[in-house]
Symmetry: C2
Subunit: 462 residues, 2 copies
């Protein structure tokens, strides 16, 4: 048997990296392409997004969160090296230096390199932040640490720091584990991916569930007890008792390795790639997942969005291209969905401040409707907000907060944004209607109608 | 007070007609526009789509199914005449002849005429079809008649004739009322708005619920007992005992009045309009709702689709135009959603036979996935089928059968069809992802990926 003609090296064994490896393998067998994948942790291809549901007790874990195990990857002839960290990239000579758990180092040459180093949780630089009992929610090990924390005798009070997706999902999880939950957020309203008027609905939902929401309150210190473990979280004005603290402050791209190798980073610290997911200025280096920045097709600006669905798409595109095919990732429109118990939350496109920052002028419309026909059981209230560009009427953004069946309606906005539709065009869309699924006018259409009227009124006003 | 400058006459007091009246009224007050609406029945603006859920006991009825009562319309200065039928249109002189319940006739002149005469259930021309105990499901009076039939002592067996939306919804309703249900359908599979391979899943769902599905069996006669009431439904090979029979054979446009006035009808018997919903060749006559044909934007052909959501859109467009504004109804893409107990059914675009009839060549892809992340509770199986045009890869159709959360995903296809997207473009769509709402690859994207591969393979094969 002759040696393979090419070697692909993957750095990071999660969604983007292993999708790239798998996709490349589908197109090129082991005789053509050798694939070596380095992962410093113990798991591959897991769903970080599933951790809150595991902690809440909805999902089994951690095994169930692993989409494909190390063994499965190895069966597909991917030389997967767990517990092995890449510590240096040498783009000149086309090689990476790795270090295994025993401290053994070696250089591995590549024909193609995929950087999928992910993101790391933001930890505010305050005293005590590294105390035992303070947890990120990024890896399966983090999830296990949180669960162990909850099982400690006397664990009764949880403080969640940060009111974004992870924050509200973890607040729900803690609540459902029977803890008293305080959510501390530096912003005036939780869920700042929504406009404040919509964030207020999320706050009301959290409070309705019994979460104490402390807004406009940056964390100043984590206070510890005599045993060295966390005992409270301090803001400027109060101390909030805590037996366990969860950090939900978002993540930032983990790109130190790439930066050291001189690869181009964007304003948010993520790697910059072309639409084929090749690192800009590189011939043989590709990048995807939480370590890259993505083009927002609505704002025209690069953003950092850590989301498993993007990572999987990136990996697939990279793998196809390395495998000799052709695929692109044109960008995102900023879609996100979440829920807090029965309240669903969704957004796509730009919120008001993002539109302003992109130089776009807009009108807005907010409507109240229901997720099903009003007479159908389980019809739940939903609020829909639309942003439409002045003059053109082009859809710029869609936000939804509502009951069962509300959130995934945001996909209509995601497709319409991608297609550059106007709100007037949206009013005519042939969306699915039957009483168990929608009022006769889908709430998204009602919001588009109101936005179209606002565009017209704005035009009439000059 | 001077007389209004114009008079709008509306024929038909349901969704299309009363939406047109309401929208025109919003734009022109009673001093500018007099509105007279004739409705031969007893109710206005009701949801015929809600009748199966009322009969099943899910929804209160019939009042709850009325979106706006006669009284509410009258408060908005609409001169609504219930129990009064328009029996002739005289387009030359711009007037209609009406007849009230007492047989009194009169002519009413119009400046604008809106025809919203709806549709009537198809009744097969077989012996006994008009026997007591055989019911359509079109009006609230029909609904009450079915309920009275179910309450008769000894009512134990229901036969539903027709396996389309109304048929399967009524089968579920009867089942939930505790009846033994037989569904008799002339087609090889129920739900012929889907391809047979997808219809088979609906059949399995019905049978799983305990409905006896008799396919490929046209009804030949309704047999009556000594009391003159229905006792069985006969096909070529069997008699099916029935205490109550429900006709779910679809509807046809009710356009006798329009035909007699020489207005243009299409191949399916519906009125033909332009995009502003003005009857072709007419200056002052508009039409909307179940009595018109609509352009299918994918096939390029006119179709008859009776659906409340279209009727409401038509009415709004007509009312805006009559009121001096501008709006259009560009057409449909053929979206429909339904459910049988926990099994959701959805389709948009063209099924295989429709694509062929339109001269389109295509590839297909069918995938199995789940409605939520696999590890999330309530993740239900769903099957997705995609039709994509050969060579161009343009999406032609999408069909879904699956559990909770499956059906409304069809809206992604509806928007993509409207925008003319290819399946390759769909693979990159930024759809909402979080474990409670979707696997990391939304099932629609998975199907689009497989279809894109099929398009490529077909191209490669020449």
């Amino acid at each position: 048997m002759t040696a393979p003609t090419e070697r692909l090296v993957v750095v990071g064994g999660d969604a983007a990296g292993m999708s790239a490896a798998s996709q490349a393998r589908r197109r090129k067998g082991p005789s053509e392409l050798e694939i070596v994948a380095f992962e410093r942790g113990r798991h591959t291809s897991y769903s970080a997004c599933g951790i809150p549901y595991w902690i809440a007790g909805d999902a089994a874990g951690p095994g169930a969160l692993v989409a494909r195990t190390a063994q499965e990857h190895r069966e597909r002839h991917i030389d997967l090296r767990l517990g092995t960290e890449v510590v240096e990239i040498d783009p000149e000579r086309g090689r990476v230096r790795s270090r295994d758990a025993a401290g053994h180092e070696e250089w591995t040459g590549y024909d193609h390199l995929v950087l999928a180093t992910g993101a790391e949780p933001v930890r505010p630089p305050v005293p005590g932040i590294d105390a035992p009992g303070v947890h990120g929610v990024q890896t399966l090990d983090d999830g296990e640490a949180v669960l162990r924390g909850l099982e400690r005798p006397g664990a009764r009070r949880a403080v969640v720091v940060g009111g974004g997706y992870i924050g509200v999902e973890m607040a729900e999880a803690m609540l459902r584990r029977g803890l008293e939950v305080t959510l501390i957020d530096r912003n005036p309203q939780p869920m700042t991916t929504l406009d404040p008027d919509m964030g207020r609905l999320v706050r009301a939902a959290l409070e309705g569930l019994g979460v104490r929401v402390v807004s406009g309150a940056p964390v100043r210190a984590v206070l510890t007890g005599a045993d060295g473990r966390v005992r409270a979280v301090a803001t400027d004005t109060a101390e909030h008792r805590a037996d366990v603290v969860v950090l939900g402050l978002g993540v930032r791209p983990q790109t130190g390795l790439a930066a050291a190798a001189g690869l181009p980073l964007g304003a948010h610290g993520g790697l910059l790639t072309d639409q084929a997911m090749r690192v800009r200025g590189s011939e043989r280096i590709w990048a995807g997942g939480d370590c890259v920045e993505v083009l927002n097709l609505v704002s025209g600006e690069f953003q950092h969005i850590a989301l498993g669905t993007h990572a999987n798409k990136h990996g697939r595109v990279i793998g196809i291209n390395i495998g000799g095919g052709y695929a692109t990732f044109p960008g995102v429109v900023g879609t996100a969905v979440s829920k807090v118990c029965d309240v669903e939350i969704a957004r796509t496109g730009l919120k008001e401040s993002q539109a302003r920052a992109a130089g776009l002028q807009f009108v807005t419309a907010v409507i109240e409707s229901t997720s099903r026909a009003g007479y159908y059981p389980g019809a739940a209230p939903m609020t829909v907000k639309v942003l439409a560009e002045r003059r053109t009427g082009r859809l710029l953004g869609l936000q939804i907060v509502g009951g069962d069946g509300a959130a995934k309606r945001v996909d209509v906005g995601a497709v319409a944004l991608t297609a550059g539709m106007t709100v007037e065009q949206i009013t005519a869309l042939d969306l699915g209607y039957a009483p168990p699924f929608s009022p006769v006018w889908d709430p998204v259409l009602v919001a588009a109608r109101k936005a179209a009227d606002a565009v017209a009124a704005d035009l009439a006003a000059g």
